[in-house]
Amino acid sequence: MIEAILISVIIAATPILIAALGEVVAERSGVLNLGVEGMMIVGAVTAFATAQITGSPYLAILTAALAGVAMAGLFAILAIWLATNQVATGLALTLFGLGVASLAGESFVGRPGVKLGDIAVPYLSDLPYVGTVLFAQSPLFYLSIALTVGVTVFLFRTRAGLRLRSVGDQPVAAHALGLKVNRIRTLAVLFGGLCAGIAGAQLTLVYTPQWIDGLSAGRGWIALALVVFASWRPTRVLAGAYLFGAVTIAQFHAQAFGVDIPSQFLSALPYLATILVLVIFASNRRFTMVNTPAALGRPFVPDR
């Protein structure tokens, strides 16, 4: 029972974690992309369609990632190269993505999907207690953990990561030093799209292998909140994603334990929890201000 709950928490946390890690990179470069929800759901429908046509879930992950990148590219052209308002452009990306996904997915409603099989790590998955929970999971779970480590190392231990952060904190200074601010930002945003696309693939290949209209159900927005909650640090994103995964799963198990609350109230829990953590962490200024990218949300137009 405990094992089943832990596995379901992992499955619920993984897409939020992957998407949030991508957004951490984008926001660290100074770009606020509110289109995560849109990129995610386009990734989800692309993955579902690819799996339907080719039968290969791995190809589906690849195309979903590319779809996410394409969506992010659209955002980058507007918000970075044409210096449009980032908040409005991100919203447009979400509205557009939701529309595209619901249009593209119309014929898939009710069809069974292809499930991405779990991979058991030899020997490790035989460990007592933690074996099946941690080492017999979908490959996307392993990817999410590897990404957490990778993004942490990249941002804080590499020269490229330092450049990316400098572009997010002091774009004018970075520009003066000869860094190509908008090119770096574009790459960061594209990485965010890649991650959001893969997160979407997880939804239709692992979480619920079927297509339902609006299936991302605000997970992209929760990922955005997670980035704030984690004060732009990947390791805290990991912790936060599992917290949200636990809250999401709590609603399903609460009823099994005979808690007599209307299901709608339980469904509202993840959203209310998001608001709660936003409030708690925003009121602790020391915790957030230090890490907030100083130029977040501001377009950079070089003076010539």
Binding site: L78, T84, A88, A92, L103, G218, V228, A268, A282
Partner: protein, 363 residues
């Protein structure tokens, strides 16, 4: 390829006015390509989408019904966005206003009289304002991100509505359908022109929308509050030096935009729908964001933009019937339109030059 931007020193007034038109034209061009790609003749598709809904009296009535909530919400949002307050949860405030306003006809079905409708509208305003006050308060008191909080509350409001219409507010004589009882006539927004050659379903919602747009135009241009809002948005530093209370402006923006979204909610429920159902909006709260930007955050522009976006809803339905196109294409159109609006805004503010990739040129 490289894109260079140079800020224009002065922007002629006609450029400002033409930008939304350019955006709309670009959207039509992209739409034609989309139609052609899905194997429909673009000209016929665009006619079905944007002209046919305007050729019949009944569908002009439908246009007014769909434009009313869009305009009411967007007028509120324009005040918020002008002060740099990002309320993107109007959809939730819409639902909240619909719930509080509907409380009278649902809980007191016997209530009749001329006071019922005004009381409902007032409650709708209050409900929307209260729902909008939550992100406003959390922002001003704790610094919580208003974009995310207001958005999260959309889901909460929708779930609350879902619970009400399936649970305590379900119609006792409704054969277990998830909906409340139908409102009494005195709780319905009267129809504008019910009979005669020009008769149809349109109600006084559109009149309310036009009045609110005019009132907001006056608020923005003729009052100190309007001045504070504009200064706070254009230059927060200047607003601080002028001694304007930024928190009060943020709070006002949320209360105002929330109240109007709530009013739109009760207008929709008391007007076009006549009862509460689990889903009462085809995303008006989000589409209104596009309306606000297409109207360049100006009340008069918003009226026009509201009619245009209402047309995309109708066109979606019409194209579905006459061409077998999915009505979901409307949402794609709306997204493309917002992209085009934002890009054309850049054309107004900057001189944009696109150069082919030149190697060795410092960026």
């Amino acid at each position: 390829m490289r894109i260079d931007l140079r800020r224009r020193t002065n922007v002629p007034w006609w450029a400002e006015a033409l930008a939304p038109l350019l955006a709309f034209t670009v959207t039509l061009a992209i739409g034609s390509v989309m139609f052609a790609a899905s194997g429909k003749p673009p000209a016929a598709a665009l006619t079905a989408y944007f002209i046919e809904p305007l050729s019949e009296i009944w569908s002009i009535h439908e246009l007014a019904i769909k434009a009313a909530p869009l305009i009411i919400i967007a007028v509120g949002l324009s005040v918020a966005y002008r002060s740099n307050t990002w309320n993107i949860g109007a959809e939730g405030q819409f639902v909240a206003g619909a719930i509080t306003g509907a409380a009278i006809p649902v809980l007191f079905p016997g209530a009749t009289g001329v006071w019922v409708l005004p009381a409902m509208l007032a409650l709708g305003l209050l409900g929307g304002a209260a729902w909008g006050a939550i992100p406003g308060l959390l922002k001003t008191r704790f610094g919580a991100n208003e974009i995310l909080v207001s958005l999260m509350l959309v889901y909460v409001a929708q779930l609350l509505l879902d619970w009400l219409v399936r649970g305590p507010w379900r119609n006792p004589e409704g054969y277990n359908f998830p909906e409340t009882r139908f409102f009494d006539d005195s709780a319905r927004l009267p129809e504008l022109i019910a009979m005669g050659d020009y008769g149809g379903r349109a109600n006084f919602g559109i009149v309310i929308a036009l009045v609110l747009a005019a009132a907001t135009a006056i608020l923005l241009t003729r009052t100190k509050k309007g001045f504070e809002i504009k200064v706070t948005g254009a230059s927060p530093r200047a607003a601080r030096f002028a001694g304007f209370d930024q928190k009060a402006t943020t709070m006002f923006a949320f209360l105002f935009s929330g109240a109007l979204a709530g009013l739109a909610g009760i207008v929709e429920v008391a007007g076009a729908i006549g009862q509460l159902t689990p889903v009462i909006s085809p995303g008006y709260g989000f589409t209104a964001i596009i309306v606000a930007f297409l109207g360049r955050l100006h009340p008069i522009g918003i009226v026009i933009a509201g009619l245009v976006l209402a047309l995309t809803y109708l066109g979606g339905e019409a194209a579905q019937i006459s061409l077998g196109l999915s009505e979901k294409i409307a949402q794609v159109f709306q997204g493309v339109l917002l992209f085009a609006v934002l890009a054309s805004d850049t054309l107004v503010r900057y001189r944009v030059t696109v150069t082919a990739r030149g190697r060795g040129v410092p960026a």
